[in-house]
């Protein structure tokens, strides 16, 4: 009987052995890739698409670990505490790298110092959209209505403290208007109530709105990125409508624990940039309304710093906090 137990343990050991003995210098065996959100969301999607391509091109073996919770904070704190040998990587994004550190009263990591930036992957703009039968023909009429009746024009968002919410706080501040913010638990419901006409407009990321804009049930009025988006060439950006310098986007970036060796960063960054050249991957990411980014690790570091400061200001103007 005891033998049986030993045998099965031996079997179990055999099962994991192939993953351990590899001749290559980096990576040594499979790479844990932490996705700080539960399976099925946008970050999960981008992570799976990217790691698929990296496995295909580099022959690396990834183990995706979905570690959701607390707006991405739990997964990222796990990444921050992981061993910095390059065998654990993860996907950071606007909310947990740039917004949550200011939004949350306490957070289990320091997003600027606890991570090694590797590469920016993709970004997506927020879109303001109205129901197909809406009286608001364009962005200007919506803003004019909000200016006439402060706090009466209702806006649904995927939640309090999300990029969608905070970018509109920044806009309201800049344009001196006031919308009635109606937060929802996630984009799906926020979009549903906009299509049903229960709120005047919705602000959400492009991927969650694109199919509804294409099918005609929603009409896009403006995008929050500095430039127009390739998926919606006819929709103006808020910046070009006279709100100069306004820009908000939801980006995703691969990061590792602090103090990663330079050669690991260089290898991983090069592999990502190669993957991001792949046409099939570009097509997949753009099909949901995101833009493929890429670039060097240094560029990402500077970008993270800038975004951190920008959102910190946005959070403090909005007055939102999470305790």
């Amino acid at each position: 009987m005891k033998n049986n137990a030993l045998k099965s343990i031996a079997c179990a050991a055999l099962l994991i052995l192939p993953a351990v003995g590899m001749a290559q210098s980096y990576p040594k065996g499979s790479i844990d890739f932490i996705v700080p959100f539960s399976a099925g969301g946008g970050t999960d999607f981008a992570s799976r698409v990217l790691t698929e391509k990296l496995s295909e091109q580099q022959g690396w073996n990834f183990v995706i670990e979905n570690r959701g919770g607390a707006g991405g904070n739990i997964g990222l704190s796990q990444l921050a505490r992981a061993k910095n040998d390059g065998q654990v990587m993860g996907m950071g994004q606007t909310s947990n790298m740039a917004i949550n550190p200011t939004l949350y009263a306490s957070i289990p990591y320091d997003s600027l110092n606890d991570f090694t930036p590797i590469a920016l992957i993709s970004s997506q703009p927020m879109v303001l959209a109205v129901n197909q039968n809406s009286a608001y023909e364009d962005f200007e009429s919506l803003v004019a209505a909000a200016r006439e009746n402060p706090g009466k024009v209702s806006m649904s968002t995927p939640g309090s403290g999300t990029v969608s919410h905070l970018s509109m706080e920044v806009f309201s501040d800049q344009a001196d208007v006031e919308f009635m913010h109606v937060p929802y638990p996630g984009a799906a419901q926020a979009v549903t109530d906009a299509i049903g006409g229960h709120v005047d407009f919705v602000t959400a990321s492009l991927p969650s709105l694109l199919s509804h804009i294409r099918s005609g049930s929603l009409k896009a009025l403006a995008v929050t990125s500095a430039e127009r988006n390739a998926a919606l060439p006819d929709v103006p950006s808020i910046a070009e409508l006279g709100y100069e310098g306004f820009e908000a986007s939801d980006w995703k970036a691969v990061v590792g624990p602090a103090g990663l060796p330079d050669d690991v960063v260089a290898t991983f960054n090069a592999a990502i940039n190669q993957a991001l050249q792949d046409e099939r991957l570009i097509e997949t990411i753009e099909s949901e309304g995101s833009t493929v980014e890429g670039g060097s690790a240094d560029e990402l570091e500077a970008y993270l710093q800038a975004e951190y400061e920008r959102w910190a200001e946005a959070v403090s103007t909005s007055g939102a906090t999470v305790e």
């Binding site: 009987m1 005891k2 049986n4 137990a5 045998k7 099965s8 343990i9 079997c11 179990a12 050991a13 099962l15 994991i16 183990v63 995706i64 670990e65």
Partner: protein, 150 residues
Amino acid sequence: MLNRDIVDIITGMALAALGLIIAAYASTHYNLGTLQRMGPGMVPMGIGLIIALLGIMLSIGGASRPRFPMPSIEWRPLTAILGGILLFSLAVPRVGLVPAIFLLTLITSLADKQLRIKTVLALIAFLILAAILIFRLALGMNIPIFRWAF
């Protein structure tokens, strides 16, 4: 008092206390808001007060009923099973699947006096194999089999 349904009286009072604690905590820590813009504290406070009210009703009901036999709790299965789950939850992220199942099954088997150590070891071997086959191979889930992460 003692010849009444003492169990319901005590449970009712415990619930009343719990409800009041919830209501007090919610109203002191969270914003209650206005009717148009309700705060996060409004609903928990209301729920707490209702629980307190129901608790009092339960106590009164108990006082008007004759004595009810005291429920007995068998401590051996309770502690063994809860302890096993606790160890499992501590072990899985730190040492992986195999040691976690080992600990879980070893401890929970103490719940039943009939189990002999040989049977338990066979059971552990079977469960480890089943877990690997079903969760790792059939469902393709990424739970580390062994891990060392303290």
